[in-house]
Symmetry: C2
Subunit: 87 residues, 2 copies
């Protein structure tokens, strides 16, 4: 098992952001709704989705709770996203 | 699905730390080895394992790579640990 190509901080933040946006849209909620549910400002949600900010463990759990997805499932989708990208 | 009891920052950091230590010991490596492999100082590994520090997304991925475990699997074990705890 190799995760070496996933550990570029920018690629990782962008992959997380893309998954966050994808799951949020699947839920049919706005950035504002997600912000409200998770206790963050919608601008922070926007920064995360664009991969400009990277989340902490705590943030991953807060967002997951608000999106009704297991944190491990969110990361599993991030892993898939990073594997799809060319090196 | 409810993750609300997992989102206390201290409980979450302690749960992550406990899983990190557990997986590291399963691998039979020292904190120093894990630090070396993941690019962190052994004292930081120790702080994480004791739940004093909480990891970023990037750190979760770096540690997972060093432990040869999927980041999602590491978080799945954290979820199990937090669910085992009383409220």
């Amino acid at each position: 098992m190799s995760h070496s190509t996933q550990n570029n901080p920018e690629i990782l933040a962008k992959a997380f952001g893309a998954v966050l946006r994808e799951v949020r849209k699947e839920r049919g909620i706005s950035q504002e709704d997600l912000g409200f549910e998770s206790g963050y400002h919608r601008t922070y949600v926007s920064l995360l989705e664009r991969g400009i900010k990277s989340p902490s463990l705590q943030t991953i759990f807060e967002l997951s709770r608000a999106l009704d997805i297991a944190p491990s499932e969110l990361l599993a989708r991030v892993e898939l996203t990073t594997r799809r990208k060319p090196k």
